[in-house]
Structures are given as C-alpha cells and as structure tokens.
C-alpha cells in the first residue's frame, strides 16, 4: 500500500517535471532542421530551387532550398514535425522529424496510418525525389493495332476479305470453284437506295428516274 502510493507520487512528479520542461523549451530551445534534397541530374539544383520551399507541419515553419540543394529551417522549437518539399516538378516523400528538448534530432519515415511505428532515417535529412510529378491523365494514343482490332474495322474488313480475296483464290482452282458454286448462298436483295427514294417520293421526279432505271435494266439485259 505504502509502496503503491509512493509510485503514484513518483509518476505524478515526473509528469509535473515533464510539463515544466516542456514549457521551458517553448521559450528557450530553438533549433534548426537541416537536410539535403536530391533528384535525378536532368535538372540543375540551382534552377530548380527557385521554385521550391521546405514546409514543416504544413507551413507552420518554412525554409528555402539553397543553390547547392541543402536547406535549413531555423527557429523551430522542440516537438514533432512533418517535413515536406514544396515544388511542382518532383514527388518527395514527407519525413517526420522529432526534436527533443535538448535539440537532439531524430528523423523517421512518416506513416500517417500508424504514427507509432519507428523506421529511423539518417539525420541530416536526405530527401530523394521519387519521380516526376504527374498532374495529367494520359490521352489514349493512336495505335495501329487499336484501329485494326476495333469492331468497326473488323466488321468492314472481314466481309471484304470474303468478297474480294476468296473469288480470286478460287479462280485458280476449278474444283474449289465448283464446290463454291454448289454451295447456294442465300441471296439477299439489297434494295437500291435510288429506287427506294423514287418509290417514296413518286410525283414529279418519278418519270426521269424511271427512264434511268429502265435504261439500267435494259443495259443489264
């Protein structure tokens, strides 16, 4: 019983001192978060850094990237921060940095789903680009295969093959030709558009069309 109350007091005391310490740091301890940004050498750092900023906790503190790709964010009190690189060219993973009251830094991978998992990284920070920033969807590009296998083209191409190439092939082979002729294709009467129109709109236009049609019939004979 005695012991229990003692531990309780001890715990309480430690909490109290911790709170006190925290308040003190707020006033005194101001630290700097340092690091370096790296990305593929296609872009020079000097040109890129003009459009980049380093944000701590989404803009609570901010800093700029120097021309040699290093950065330093100053006057940061102790605590836990998310370090992000603001730019429009590359994708960077955010990093979590813990600063103790004595100014000791610890960097770790930021996993927002499980904030308690520790996956320590090196400090000073090394932030590497994961790839170029992609803002746009890709338009479907025109490809030959796409066009050839599209249902519309297939619908036109397959009958064309049947109609044009098959008779040519059979022309050389008389046996096959006979066989084909024996195979009675169902005859489809395709209505002539011109005639259909003439029938529909009889009247004045009719005689002219009729003669034309008659001529055609005669020629066929």
């Amino acid at each position: 019983m005695q012991l229990k109350s003692f531990t309780k007091i001890a715990v309480l005391f430690s909490i109290l001192t911790w709170v006190n310490g925290n308040e003190l740091e707020e006033q005194n301890g101001r630290f700097s978060v340092e690091g370096e940004v790296s990305f593929p050498p296609t872009k020079t750092c000097s040109g890129w850094s003009a459009g980049a900023r380093i944000l701590l906790n989404h803009g609570q503190y901010s800093g700029f990237v120097l021309q040699d790709c290093t950065f330093r964010v100053d006057h940061v009190p102790s605590g836990t921060y998310i370090v992000q690189v603001e730019n429009t060219d590359f994708l960077f993973e955010p990093i979590r940095v813990d600063i103790t009251s004595k100014g000791k830094m610890r960097a770790r991978k930021l996993t927002i789903l499980q904030p308690n998992t520790v996956n320590t990284l090196n400090y000073p920070l090394k932030i590497a680009a994961r790839g170029p920033m992609r803002f746009f969807k890709k338009r479907e590009e025109w490809r030959v295969t796409d066009m050839l296998f599209s249902p519309m083209v297939l619908m036109i191409a397959v009958p064309l093959v049947v109609m044009l190439i098959l008779p040519k092939m059979t022309a050389n082979d008389p046996e096959l030709k006979r066989e084909m002729e024996n195979m009675q294709m169902p005859k489809v009467d395709m209505p002539d558009v011109g005639e259909m129109m003439a029938n529909l709109f009889g009247g004045s236009a009719a005689p002219k069309k009729k003669t034309a049609a008659a001529g055609a019939i005669q020629r066929r004979k």
Partner: protein
C-alpha cells in the same frame, strides 16, 4: 476483395484528373506580388527589371518592359512589417522573419545563395547594408558585421537599450551607422571600417524621432514638427533647423535635396556648404505625388490625370497630360528611374493607394507619356467574391419577349413568332458570313495545305474573345466581382482573367470588422442579369474611416458604373441580404445598427414585406460564448431575442467557425436509397447552423449543430486531441470539417451526415423548425486521415444540386485538391457485402489518398489561399471555381464528369469529313460497279 476495392477507387479517381492538352483551356492563373514597399530599378544582366519588396512580405522581380513577374519568393509572413532589404550588382540581401534570418538571393532568377542565422530573438527595427561583400546587420539591440566567408559575425556591438531607429549611411567607401535609442533623443553613431565597428563617442542632439514624421536619405535624416524642419547631416555631425511659413505634412528627398510638403506648397531645400538653402517653392495640389531622384534636376509631380516636370534649379516646368482613369485612387508613391541612353527620358513607377502599379515612360522634350504596363496588385487582398451571369443574348431576349405578354391573341402571337424566327435566321446568317470571311482571310494569310485550312476552321470556333459581351450558350462565361481590403472593387472576365473595370471606393474607405476581428468588405448581388429589361445590381458595404459609419455603394456589375452611394448615419452592427425581392426584383440589404434597429437598402414596402413571414438571425458573442437567436420584426423594424444561451460550450473554449447555409442552395434529392431498397430521408434543415469551438488547453474540438429559430441543439460532437487549423463547410444535410490531430500528428477530415429519425417521413416542401421532430435525427459520423495540411475548404456548387458535390481543399504547398463526396462519405460501410459491391458502394478505408493527378490546378500553384468561391454554371455538370490568395486561379470543375456535354476533344470536323467521304465513296463505287457489270455483260 481488395482488388475490386482498388478498381472501384481507380474508377472514381479517373474521373477527376484532366488531360495535358486541356491545361489552360478553361483555367487561368493571375500571379500577384502585392503592394510595393520599396523597389530597385536594375539594369544589370540581359534584361531590365524592377525588384520589388512588398507589404505582403513577398519579394519578386518584374520585367521592366512587360510588367510580368520573372520570379517571386514568398517569405515568412510576420505580423509586424519588419523586413529589411538591400542589393548590389548581383545579389539581393534580405533580413526577414523578425530580423532573425539573413538571406542573399541571385538577382537574375531569385535563387537562394546564402543564409545566415542572425539572432534568436525577434526584433522590430531592422536594417541591412552591404559594402565590398561585407554584410552589416542591425537589429533593435545589436549591430553585427559578417565577412563574405564566415557564417558567424566578425564583430558585434551590443546596444544598451532597444533602438527605435537605425540606418546605414554610405558615402563613397565610407559607411556609418546611426541609431536612436528608446530612452534618449540623441543620434548615436557607429563608424565602420571594413568589418570592424567602432562606437563613436559623439552623440548628436536631435529632435525626438518619430518614424512617420521623418525621412532618411543618403546622408541626411530630416524630421518635421509643425512648421519646423530639422535636418541632421550624419557625416558632418551637424543639425540644421529651419522654419517654414506653413505646416509641413510630409518630408521626402534624395541626395542633397529635401522636400518639405505642406497642403498647398512644396518647399525645396538644398544642403550645400554646411548650410540649408531654400531653393524654390512650388504650388501643389493634394492629388499630386512627388517623385525625384538625385542627381537629376527634374522633379516629377504625378497626378492621376497629368505629370508635371519641374526643374528645381531653373524656372522651367512642363505639364504632360496622361490618360486619366475615371475612377482613380490617390497615388501613394512614385519611383523614378532615369533612362541612361537619353537624359530627357524617365521611367516612373507609380503606385496608387489601391496598389495599382503603373510604369510610365516620360519623354520630357517631346512632352509625351506612354503607359508601358500596369498591374492591379490589390487583387492579392481579395475579400469577397461573387460570380454574375452575363446579360442575355439578343435571341434569348427575343424568346423572353415572346413569352412575356400573355394577353395577345393567336394571330399577333403567330406574327411575333415569325418575327422572332426571322430575327434568329438573320443572326445565324450574319454570323456564318462573319465566320466565312474570317476563315478565308486567315486562310489567305497563312494558308497552304489542308491541315492549315482545318486548323483555321477550328480556331474560328474558339475565337470567342472578340464576341459581344453577352451570355454564352452554357452560361460558362461570367463576370467575377471581387472586393479587396484596399478599397477597390473589380470586375474580372472569367474567360481570361482580364480586368474589365474597377471602382475605387473613395479615400475614406475602411473595411468592416467582423466578430472574428477579420477585416471584411461584404459584397451582395441584389439583382442578377436574369431580368433583361433591368440592369443587374450589386452592392458593396464598408465603413467610413473618419466617422465609422456604414456606407453602401450600389453599382452595375457588368460595366462597373456606380448607381448610388448611401452614407448611413450610423455604424453597422450586422448586415445580411433579405431573402425576398421588392417590385424591381432587387433583394434589399438588411442593416442592423447598434440600437438593433433594422433598415433596408433599397427600401421595400409593407406589402412586399408581408410575403416574408419571419426572419431569424443568430448572434454570436465570441467573448462570453453566448449565442442569441433573434427574430427580425420586419414591419416594426426591431430585433427581438427569442432564445439565448451558450449551447453547451465551456468558458475556456474559443469559437473558431460558425457556418450556416445559403438560402439559395438547392437540394435535389430528398433521400438516399439504402441497400435493402429502403429510403433514408435527409434531414434538410435550412435553419441549421454549425458552430465549431476549440478548447486549446484540453485539445478538444466541439461541433454543435443548432437550430437558429428555436435554439434547439440538434447534435453536438466532441473530437479529442484536435488542434488548429480547423475548417468547416456546411451543405445540404452534412457538415465536413478538417482539423489537426495531435494524437496521430496528421490532418483528419470528418463528416457528419444527418438523416430523419426513424418513422419520420420526408414530407415537406417546407421545413418548419417550430414544428419539431418526434425523433432526433439519425447522425452518421466518420473520420478520414488526410496526408496534407488544409488552408481553405469549400464545396462545389452546381445549378440544380444534382451532381455529386466535391470538397475542395487548398494545401499550404499551393495545390487545390478535389475530394469527391463519394469518398468523404459517412455511410461508407466497414464491410462490403456482394449486394453493396453491386451498387458500387465504396467500403471504408481510413485514408483519403492525395495524388497529384487530382489537383485541379496542376502546376499552377496558389499560395496563402484565403478562400475558394464555387458558383454554378448553366451546365448541371459544371461548377466554376475561383481560388484567391497570393494568386487568383479560376477553373471549371466537373465533380461527376461531363455527363451533359460532348467531351471537348470530340472532333466534329473529323467525323463530318469521314461521313461525307463515306457518302461520296459509296456513290463512286456504285458508279464503278455499274460500269463493271456492263463490261462483264459485253464480254
């Protein structure tokens, strides 16, 4: 199961992103730099530029020839304006963040070259100077020198008391530091040799220093008091006193010349041979602003309508008129840059009180002024935004006309119909001819080949910029009205972001103070352009700087013409738009004064008022945490308290957001279909307000939903371990909010949805708060993890509220992220059954992913976003969005995809060409087949 979930998510996401060739098609961005505090004309390097340091703590470089921003850096924004800034041939040196960080930047492209941590504590009075690469920095309590190599100071002089004034003086290779301490009015000197600092024993007696009554130039400090002018020569350690015959209001100067300005006179002094000599006296008018630079002889007096060039030694004066803008603001500063090539040419950068920058190029000998460019920098302080439809087109007006009068008989109606259609026919003909001529002319200019021809046809359909100022077919083009806290109102074309007109609200302009101590300039659209016989009306409300009384300025939103200006005889306590119109289709503004009396602008008569049964308002007292439900008695024009209380908020909580609903908001669907084919009705209460309050000590966020009419608390939610920033949006039957979770060290988004309680039918056309519900509404809540910070939050608006809404979130990194309500949904189930999957319901995942493809502004970032305005267009699928911060960004948003319009890449010309080709081909083949058959017959 996971895979299918992923597939569904991908399906949802794929709707959001845009294609690369769509960039810039519907959107534009206007980058801004802010109100200049100091400028440097720079002609080193390849092109001339002006380096500007602004009040918004932004540093940037403008091209001298075009006025375009070459580069811009957003520095730390501190509350006090305490950054210092200097430059040499290659670099710019800044001392920012309360005088704690020194940085040097390359002038050409704004790249950070060097950064030194100067001090730990914030100082309010800072100055900086560079000589031979050595850097000298003065904060309010110490003076430091740095060599070009080392990051630690070479020498430090600590002051015994804080400085209220400090400045460096350069004369050739000699550098001197002068300062005034808080306690004694004496000028204290420190002389500088290379990097060594020597405290000078001599103190110079000087008048008491006040920053607003003193001016510092190369080697003199001049201060005035009444009609007395005192000038200290810092190198000679000498003070000159002189008296004028009029009171001085302002003192300025450059080199050895000092100007003391009274109300009507400008006295010119020169310091020569240890004496102050009055050179000249020039009559000035109050709207003239002076610009002068040594060693030139010409003094520029710039007014909005002319520029006077006066010689300070000779008796010559030239007056050159300039194109006057009707609605101008007074000028606040003029920066002069003599052009090197020609001694008689000058470039003047003129800054107005409305932060308008204009570059004038003045040719004194030819008496000519050319306005090279101008920038409306006031737009960086946009406060309220409204989008107004353009007027109806002529043909739309004809149709309106046709259905307007119902009294006419059949015959006249028929004739009218014929007339209308004839008119439409004529319009189409004339437009087609115009198009053909345009196409032909462009074709003849740069046309060879079919592709050019097709391109020119395409470009005619998109060349709508020179189209008349009227509504387009889908009502996508609007006029953006924007008020700024500088006192300017803008009309902006939403097509390309060009400023159509500007109103200056007067020199007595002051913004209203809202309960959250924010400066507000409310803007109300009182009559839209839907009534084509009448012009649109909009009003802006502000207060008079001197009397603190309210002022209402009413104007035509299309052309920016002021219709009336009402100076109210009292100060405004509360202001709102009345939800009913008077006979002229105007929504009056309801103004409550300090005595709780109500008045209307414009007036509205008793009959019209009777259509509005009762009006309720909620009053929030931030300090005492009490809410008051007020009923406005419109007939007797009095406010009556209905209820009051603290709605369960503790005394240590601070109210961070109060959001009601707009009375114009439309809710399309009354309910949602459940998976068992049941319907759950939405609890759509138009009188519901959401109040968010934060307990900083216990880190607790409370959200209370209160009915304004009855004071009934509908729901209250507590979120533990929450901290600022808190943002809240409220729409239909749901509230979405964002907060910083201290526990998870991440931003979280929450959503609360309200549905009618069990057995409660959605009956009503109207919701009645007083009727009360038998059952409490059912509340669904859900939280999501969000990997980014949130700076501003808003909801997309469409015309009928039929499309799925999207939540727009502005990130501190400058992106604007669109999150569909499908994802931020309180009804996402934890476990998906096959039936749910069939209905395409997305299961709950704790995180709302942020991918760069969902950024509606792709790489056109917008910083320090203060608000996002969403407005419906004529298309149900499309919402128009304007985000405003240090930049303006406008785009079209399609929250549920473009379901009611052909895709913009739909190729009309290609399809019609294919179609006509097919027809033509079939005709040819028919011919060929016929001749083929004939020859077959013959053979």
């Amino acid at each position: 199961m996971k895979l299918s979930l992923l597939v569904i998510q991908l399906l949802v996401y794929s709707v959001v992103a845009i294609f690369e060739d769509q960039a810039g098609k519907f959107d534009w961005r206007k980058t801004l730099i802010g109100c200049p505090k100091s400028t440097i004309f720079d002609d080193s390097g390849r092109s001339d530029r002006i380096v500007v340091f602004t009040k918004e703590s932004i540093m940037g470089s403008l091209s001298l020839h075009t006025g375009k921003i070459e580069w811009r850096r957003i520095l730390e924004s501190t509350a006090s304006n305490d950054a210092a800034f200097t430059s040499d041939d290659e670099y710019i040196y800044t001392l920012s963040d309360g005088g704690r960080i020194f940085r040097s930047w390359r002038k050409v492209d704004g790249v950070l070259v060097r950064q030194i941590l100067v001090s730990e504590e914030i100082s309010t009075r800072n100055s900086i100077e560079v000589l031979d690469g050595n850097i000298f920095i003065a904060t309010s309590n110490k003076l430091m020198s740095f060599t070009p190599e080392a990051d630690s100071p070479a020498n430090v002089v600590k002051f015994t008391s804080d400085r209220i004034f400090s400045s460096f003086f350069k004369q050739g290779n000699e550098l001197l530091f002068a300062s005034v301490s808080k306690i004694s009015p004496k000028l204290n000197f420190v002389s500088i040799n290379k990097v060594e600092l020597f405290a000078d024993g001599v103190d110079l007696d000087f008048v008491s220093y006040e920053p607003e009554r003193c001016h510092v130039q190369n080697m003199y400090i001049s201060c005035f008091n009444g009609n007395k002018l005192s000038v200290a020569d810092v190198f000679d350690k000498n003070v000159f006193h002189t008296e004028l015959d009029h009171d001085i209001t302002n003192v300025s100067g450059s080199g050895r010349i000092i100007f003391a300005r009274g109300i009507t006179d400008l006295e010119v002094f020169e310091i020569s041979n240890s004496n102050i000599v009055a050179l000249k006296k020039i009559k000035v008018t109050p709207d003239e602003e002076i610009g002068f630079v040594e060693p030139q002889d010409s003094l520029f007096l710039v007014s909005p309508s002319y520029v006077r060039v006066v010689s300070i030694t000779l008796d010559t004066a030239v007056r050159v008129p300039r194109v006057a803008s009707e609605n101008h603001s007074p000028l606040i500063s003029v920066f002069v840059n003599p052009v090197k090539k020609n001694a008689k040419d000058y470039e003047l950068l003129v800054v107005g009180a409305d932060c308008r920058l204009e570059l004038l190029s003045v040719d004194v000998s030819a008496k000519a002024i050319v306005s090279e460019w101008n920038r409306e920098e006031s737009l960086i302080n946009v406060e309220s935004v409204e989008l107004v439809d353009l007027p109806l087109t002529e043909s739309q007006q004809m149709i309106e006309d046709e259905f307007e009068d119902n009294e006419s008989n059949i015959m006249s109606a028929f004739i009218r119909r014929l007339q209308v259609q004839f008119g439409q026919f004529c319009r189409i003909l004339s437009r087609t001819f115009e198009n053909i001529f345009y196409t032909l002319s462009t074709f003849s200019i740069h046309g060879n080949g079919l592709s050019d021809f097709i391109n020119s046809i395409r470009s005619t359909s998109s060349s709508s910029n020179n189209a008349p100022f009227e509504r387009d077919y889908f009502n996508l083009r609007k006029v953006i009205l924007a008020t700024t806290i500088n006192g300017a109102v803008f009309g902006i074309d939403s097509n390309d972001g060009s400023v159509l007109w500007k109103i200056w609200l007067g020199d007595d302009f002051a913004p209203l103070e809202s309960i959250s101590a924010k400066q507000r300039v409310p803007l109300y659209v009182q009559r839209t352009t839907a009534h084509y016989q009448l012009d649109g009306l909009a009003s802006v409300v502000f207060s008079n700087k001197k009397t603190k009384y309210g002022v209402i300025v009413t104007f035509n939103p299309m052309i920016g013409q002021v219709v009336s200006k009402n100076e109210l005889p009292y100060s405004i306590k509360r202001i709102s738009l009345l939800p009913i119109t008077n006979q002229k289709h105007v929504y009056p503004i309801l103004v409550v004064d300090e005595e709780n009396e109500i008045s209307f602008y414009p007036s509205i008569n008793q009959n019209e008022l009777s259509s509005c049964s009762s009006l309720f308002l909620m009053d929030v007292d931030r300090n005492s945490k009490t809410m008051k439900g007020l009923e406005a008695d419109l007939i007797n024009r009095k406010l009556r308290t209905v209820w009051s209380g603290n709605i369960g908020l503790a005394s240590n909580e601070e109210i961070v957001a109060v959001k009601g609903k707009s009375f114009q908001q439309k809710v399309h669907s009354q309910g949602r279909v459940l998976i068992n084919r049941d319907v759950q009705y939405k609890y759509v209460n138009p009188n519901l307000a959401a109040v968010a309050s934060l307990d900083r000590k216990n880190q607790q966020l409370t959200i209370v939903l209160v009915d304004i009419v009855t004071g009934h608390v509908v729901h209250s939610a507590k979120i533990v371990k929450a901290a600022e920033p808190v943002h809240l949006v409220h729409s239909e039957n749901w509230i979405a909010y964002s907060y910083w979770s201290e526990k998870g060290r991440r931003t979280e988004l929450g959503i609360i949805e309200l549905y009618e309680g069990h057995g409660e039918q959605a009956r009503k056309e109207f919701f009645d708060s007083k009727l009360g519900n038998k059952h409490q509404p059912a509340v669904l809540m859900q939280s999501y993890i969000y990997a980014q910070g949130v700076e501003a939050m808003t909801i997309s608006e469409t015309e009928k509220g039929l499309s799925m809404r999207s939540i727009l979130l502005a990130h501190p990194s400058g992106n604007i992220h669109e999150v569909s309500r499908r994802l931020l949904d309180a009804t996402r189930p934890m476990e998906l059954t096959p039936a749910m999957r069939e209905e395409m319901i997305i299961g709950y995942v704790p995180e709302i992913a942020v991918s760069s493809e969902e950024m509606i502004n792709y790489n056109l970032t917008v910083h320090r976003v203060r608000g996002i305005k969403a407005s419906p267009s004529g298309l149900e699928s499309t919402s128009l969005v304007l985000a405003y911060g240090t930049d303006l960004f406008f785009t079209r948003l399609v929250p549920s995809g473009t379901f009611d319009i052909l895709k913009d890449d739909f190729d009309h010309i290609f399809i019609s060409m294919v179609l006509s080709g097919l027809v033509f081909g079939s005709y040819i083949t028919k011919r060929l087949a016929r001749s083929n058959a004939l020859s077959a017959q013959w053979s």
